[in-house]
Symmetry: C2
């Protein structure tokens, strides 16, 4: 019985023993509920009981699958990161700046719409000073960003983009797109448009302003 528990411990995040169906299902449920809570209340503001209630399981059972609250948070962060980093991959330096930029922006908006909780989870982590995410920010994320900056800088050098610090151009895109996820509550308090309308307007507005503001179009 002790041995069994030991083994389970190892499984949690590290080793790659095959998981039973129940294990996978329940972990999914837990992580889904945890994402909802953590993205609203942050790590400290979320209780294991909230996650239990949210997932319809007992607290003890939650802690059977993840031994510590910290482990749940870690697992949620890790899982969410995957989906998040992927669309941020480098733009194609050989492609058309207008198209590449628009593709990037559109992807980010789409992410804000389909995965707002993920966006809020990171916002919450970063507000807290990114205690767990900092290493990631400084390594993986930085690499991706550096690559994107290089591409933008090349376009600037080629006279295709306005002359501005590429990093801040990226910040502006991130900010403008994530706003629709992170500040959804505020937006909903300020307009009665439905989600459909909001994101439709967001897309056209961001397209107009950002592309118009960033691209250097000789003929205009």
């Amino acid at each position: 019985m002790k041995a069994q528990h030991q083994q389970h411990t190892q499984d949690e995040l590290g080793s790659h023993r095959k998981l039973t169906r129940t294990q996978m299902q329940n972990q999914e449920r837990i992580l889904a509920a945890a994402l909802t809570e953590f993205s609203r209340f942050g790590f400290r503001g979320t209780t294991v009981d909230q996650i239990a209630t949210g997932s319809g399981m007992s607290k003890a059972n939650i802690l059977y699958y993840f031994r510590r609250k910290n482990d749940i948070y870690l697992a949620v962060l890790e899982k969410t990161l995957e989906n998040w980093l992927e669309p941020l991959q480098s733009m194609d330096p050989a492609g058309d700046p207008q198209q590449e930029l628009w593709k990037y922006i559109k992807t980010k908006i789409h992410l804000s719409r389909t995965a707002p909780e993920a966006s809020r989870l990171f916002a919450s982590e970063i507000l807290q000073g990114a205690p767990l995410l900092k290493p990631f920010l400084e390594s993986e994320l930085k690499d991706v960003v550096d690559a994107n900056c290089k591409v933008l800088q090349q376009w600037i050098d080629e006279g295709k983009l306005i002359d501005a610090p590429p990093l801040h151009l990226i910040f502006m895109i991130w900010a403008a797109t994530q706003h629709y996820a992170d500040f959804a509550t505020q937006i909903n308090a300020l307009t009665r448009d439905n989600e459909e309308q909001i994101f439709s307007d967001a897309e056209t507005t961001l397209k107009k302003v950002l592309l118009r503001g960033m691209l250097r179009t000789p003929e205009h």
Copy 2:
């Protein structure tokens, strides 16, 4: 002694009895420390003890000035709101759009630099679903925003601004400027520029992109 306590209770937020010097000083200290904690960890994630430590007072003394943790949070929100709403006042419809817009943006950037914790406090509240701020968002803030939208719409009608939903233009300005406060941790993980440099770059970038993107300049 009971009467004294009763009186003190009334003072907390409502009545306008004159406060002693110590009262004002200590309330300041408490609110300052509370802002720091709440803006990082949100309401639920912050403990009264943290605020006590942060302000160098005993927990019991904190609760002498504010009877409940909730009261502290409320007081911080209220106090912070004042500084926040003021610079968002209406732009002058008779003024030059370029100048008015730039003034607005510059003010918001300045706010992000000088009062980042205030920005983060609101971000945190809104992430949590704005349980306390919602009434404010739907009334005072909405009024200010509506007024600004009207001005922007007029400029659009006059052909001075691109045709886009004014609300979303405002969102973009808010997002791009507040990003430098709310995501400071992330920004600091991605660049080694000092604050001076970051905000200088932010200003020029936002000026270029946003004005360029939003203004309709016939001669260009």
